[in-house]
């Protein structure tokens, strides 16, 4: 999704700080939480070597693993609150490590590389058992769907996310994609080099939309944009009914978007 030679420039500190702060709120990039709630069992030919349970989970004594997939499933349902259960055979781990490092690294960016590795891990269900089956999510969406969507856009195209809070731009994320990959990641400060007066941007969602013309002219035609008030955005992050909420906000003049709901 993100090209290996992606250009990442002009990140306005305050705005980038806000974006990073969203990681906790929205689990925008929740691929590896800091303290994963994962029960892990290591065994060798069925004999359990190590069990690691997250704090607060009382795991029954397990000495033998006969059917790892079944055991993972059983423990997952037996211990509510776990993110997942993984049962790993020592030699399978060694093999997996070896195979990952023999993968073709030359054309890969890190994301492609990690995805291939996860696919590889899924190919040995007896040796590396995960329940529920592993799925790499990005803000609640399966990563592969996001990658497919991004790759299906016009070439080149731009994406814009603008959030206004207390009368000032709170978040302005601009992406440029070409040849199915993100090639530029920036904020509105990027437009300064084209003499766009970004310091004096209007401060309502409707007014912030004027920046779209500059993005269109200087970055790429916009494929999708979402410009909204912070309260709307915060609600959207966790909403189960994103479409409905966005339409309601648009009707109230608190959001405008295109390429999102179509």
């Amino acid at each position: 999704m993100i090209a290996r030679d992606v250009e990442i420039v002009d990140l306005r500190p305050g705005i980038w700080r806000n974006l990073i702060s969203l990681m906790d709120v929205s689990r925008l990039s929740d691929i590896r939480p800091v303290q994963p709630n994962i029960l892990s069992i290591l065994h060798h030919s069925g004999k359990v070597l190590r069990v690691y349970a997250p704090a607060g989970f009382r795991v029954p004594t397990i000495e033998q693993v006969d059917d790892p997939q079944e055991l993972a499933k059983k423990l997952y349902y037996q211990l509510p609150g776990l993110e997942s259960v993984q049962i790993l055979e020592r030699d399978s781990l060694m093999l997996f490590s070896d195979q990952v490092q023999r993968m073709d690294w030359m054309p890969s960016d890190m994301e492609d590389f990690a995805l291939h590795a996860f696919h590889l891990a899924g190919q040995d269900p007896a040796g590396l058992s995960f329940f529920p089956p592993f799925s790499w999510k990005w803000n609640g969406f399966p990563l592969e769907e996001v990658r497919t969507w991004l790759a299906s856009g016009p070439d080149p195209c731009a994406y814009f996310l603008g959030v206004v809070r207390d009368g000032a731009p709170w978040l302005t994320l601009i992406l440029r994609a070409a040849e199915k990959k993100v090639r530029l990641i920036t904020t509105i400060d990027y437009l300064k080099r084209f003499d766009v007066p970004v310091e004096r941007l209007p401060a309502s969602p409707k007014d912030l939309a004027v920046v779209c013309d500059s993005i269109h002219a200087h970055v790429a035609p916009i494929r999708a944009a979402l410009i909204c008030d912070y309260m709307v955005f915060a609600k959207l992050l966790t909403s189960e009914e994103k479409r409905r909420d966005l339409m309601l906000a648009a009707a109230d003049g608190l959001a405008s978007s295109f390429g999102i709901l179509e």
Binding site: R4, D5, E7, I8, V9, D10, L11, R12, P13, W16, R17, I20, S21, M23, R32, P36, I38, S40, L42, R50, Y52, Q86, L88, L93, M94, F96, S97, D98, V100, Q101, R102, W105, M106, S108, D109, M110, F113, A114, A117, F118, A121, L128, F134, I185, D189, K192, R193
Partner: protein, 661 residues
């Protein structure tokens, strides 16, 4: 030599100047902006800049190099000449590894795709680095082919660099490589199993043991030649006598790193680069890095350390700086982020950055390079933006800091510190040796770190694997905690520290277990003989480093408590419950606080400065009790106050007080 670096700082023609620099990566900008960027850097108070020189960027074709002849943006000579014109000195980082979020870490693809340069895992796979922008195989420190290729790059670079060395040009220091320990893959049985490395391992054993019979005696084996010895691929020790073979493998990796940097340093010297060379230590403690050993070699003048300015992890930052201060000739943070990488978990505010910088200063940082002072791509929060404009809120911080550092002679001062906590190389090696697996998959599928530990029921009284500084509840962690709670500043060092250096301290804490090299035991007792106070525990060694019976410490003291010895004392302290009675008398504080959540250090020089840090997220209040009047010089009231001073200090804030003696 026109340039000298010692524990007091950097000297040019005998004149001491602060080693205080900021990065500007010439190749990231159009040459038109170079003069402006250099001007801005000077305006922030910097007279030294630093830049990497990426090999992969300058090598435009196999063996063909462009230093600005074709692409002006790669014009290193022109950039350095501009520095001269602007009166700015330069530190260069010609790698060979530079990182900087560049594809393949800045190596040319042509070189890194050649399997002859790869470090190999225990299963024979190339050891891939997955910490940077793209995956790539980690080069082997043992690979002659890799060194040959590096030599070609240095052949091309040397004419540019040699003629621009101080005093003929602006370049005063050359920093070799980055991530000096296998690019972070330091697990014992992960690397390096390539043929050349295994040959070197055998050479190392041969140098260590001499005749093969000597090794056989220690290992209880019957090898007839070193060529028969295989490198261990996992820890399978079942009795204590098995352990030396595994410890040797871990120690070999220190040897491998040392040898690589000595070779690399020699290659610079052979090409006429005569200025001091430094290396960039990774943020790890002791093995496989041998910071003190490296600085003893002729080629390496200085080892620095990279620090991420994370205000919310003050304990980690303080520990890193204490280790740097206790091991490096000059406590030089070679890469202190002025801002953050784009994917950092948080972006620091100017206030948070101030806290991190002053925290580093209070714990001993005496020389620093601020990374990305001029913003490159993939970076956020630099004080100077790409177009040469100031980002005022960050630029102001650097202006104020510079004025403060100059006015109070901070870079000429030293931290007052009479207490040292020593990491034991033997215990840290054991900690690494008592493991299996490697990190290649640990991160990818989130395997708990404890899975890489192996349980070794070898009958030790004290489990050596639990006595690493990385282990929660270890004696050494308890020692650090004890001193911090007593608000006593200390340095961290390791057991490679020379006795003469150790005697600069009054009190030394040393973790011990059942085994310890006899010469090391003698060294620490000699420290006590010369007037120091040695505190050790939790073990009373009864074996030497090769697991043969023998103890010098045990002969000196058998029961917990303190005994006088020579002009000093030794304390055997199995646990810290009794520490207060045994050792507090030896750690007097000149300035006292009544709030245990705050931290305090003193730097002495032309001025005596008390640094007071609040590492918590809440406002704190404390009484400062000092024998001399105090006057606030940073974040503290400027009026002179005598006796007890009550101060309030905000969250993540450092106050500085001048002691008016």
């Amino acid at each position: 030599m026109a340039i000298r670096i010692d524990s007091n700082g950097l000297y040019l023609d005998g004149r001491r100047i602060p080693l205080y620099s900021g990065s500007v990566h010439y190749w990231r900008y159009s040459p038109n902006t170079w003069p402006t960027l250099l001007e801005r850097i000077k305006e922030l108070g910097f007279e030294i800049i630093q830049s990497p020189v990426p090999w992969g960027l300058h090598e435009s074709g196999p063996g063909i190099f462009d230093f600005g002849e074709k692409n002006p943006q790669k014009g290193l000579p022109q950039f350095l000449d501009l520095c001269t014109k602007a009166g700015i000195l330069a530190i260069l980082r010609p790698g060979p590894f530079v990182g900087e979020d560049m594809p393949f870490g800045g190596f040319p693809l042509r070189v890194i795709r050649n399997s002859a340069v790869w470090a190999l895992t225990s299963t024979g796979a190339p050891a891939l680095s997955t910490r940077y922008a793209t995956p790539f195989p980690i080069p082997s420190y043992a690979s002659e082919k890799f060194l040959q290729e590096v030599g070609k790059f240095l052949d091309a670079l040397a004419p540019v660099l040699a003629s621009r060395q101080y005093p003929d040009g602006p370049v005063i220091l050359c920093q070799m490589n980055k991530e000096s320990a296998f690019m972070g893959r330091t697990q014992a049985y992960d690397l390096d199993y390539c043929t050349e490395s295994i040959t070197l391992f055998r050479n190392f054993l041969s140098e260590k043991y001499g005749a093969i019979e000597n090794l056989n005696t220690v290992y209880a084996t019957k090898y007839s030649a070193y060529s028969e010895i295989a490198a261990p691929k996992r820890c399978e020790a079942t009795v204590q006598r098995d352990i030396p073979a595994y410890l040797d493998w871990v120690e070999y990796k220190e040897y491998l790193i040392r040898r690589f940097y000595q070779r690399l340093g020699g290659m610079f010297r052979d090409r006429g680069i005569s200025i001091p060379l430094s290396i960039d230590g990774p943020s790890i403690f002791s093995t496989p890095m041998d910071s003190i050993g490296l600085q003893k070699s002729l080629e390496i003048t200085l080892t620095g350390m990279e620090v991420d300015p994370n205000s919310s992890d003050y304990p980690a930052l303080a520990r890193q700086i204490r280790y740097l201060t206790g091991t490096s000739k000059l406590p030089f943070v070679s890469k202190f982020g002025s801002g953050n990488s784009w994917f950092a978990p948080r972006v620091s505010s100017p206030h948070e950055e101030e806290f991190a910088i002053l925290s580093a200063v209070m714990h001993g940082m005496t020389a620093v390079n601020f990374h990305m002072l001029a913003e490159g791509d993939r970076w956020v929060g630099a004080p100077i933006s790409r177009d040469g404009a100031f980002r005022e809120e960050f630029a102001d911080l650097f202006r104020h800091l510079h004025s403060f550092f100059v006015k109070y002679g901070v870079w000429e001062s030293k931290k007052n510190c009479r207490t040292l906590v020593v990491l034991s190389y033997e215990l840290e090696r054991y900690h690494l040796a008592a493991s299996t697996m490697n990190y290649a998959y640990l991160g990818l599928i989130r395997i708990p770190a404890v899975f890489s530990e192996v349980s070794l029921p070898l009958g030790f009284q004290i489990d050596p694997a639990r006595q690493s500084i990385y282990e929660e509840g270890s004696w050494i962690q308890e020692a650090c905690g004890f001193l911090e709670n007593a608000q006593v500043e200390y340095n961290l060092s390791d057991s490679h520290l020379e006795l003469d250096e150790m005697t600069k301290y009054d009190l030394v804490f040393l973790p011990t277990a059942d085994f310890m090299d006899l010469r090391e035991q003698e060294k620490f007792l000699e420290f006590a003989d010369r007037g120091g106070h040695l505190v050790f525990g939790p073990g009373l060694p009864s074996l030497d480093g090769r697991m043969n019976p023998g103890s010098i410490l045990k002969n000196a003291i058998q029961i917990p408590g303190t005994q006088t010895r020579g002009s000093g004392k030794i304390t055997y302290l199995p646990a810290f419950d009794a520490a207060k009675e045994l050792i507090t008398a030896d750690i007097p504080n000149v300035v006292l606080l009544d709030n245990p959540d705050l931290r305090l250090t003193i730097r002495g020089g032309s001025y005596n400065l008390v640094f007071l840090a609040n590492p918590t997220t809440a406002n704190q209040r404390s009484m400062i009790i000092s024998s001399w009047p105090l006057r606030g010089v940073w974040n503290a009231p400027e009026e002179t106050q005598t006796g007890s001073v009550t101060t309030e200090i905000g969250p993540h804030t450092v106050q500085v007080w001048e002691v008016l003696k």
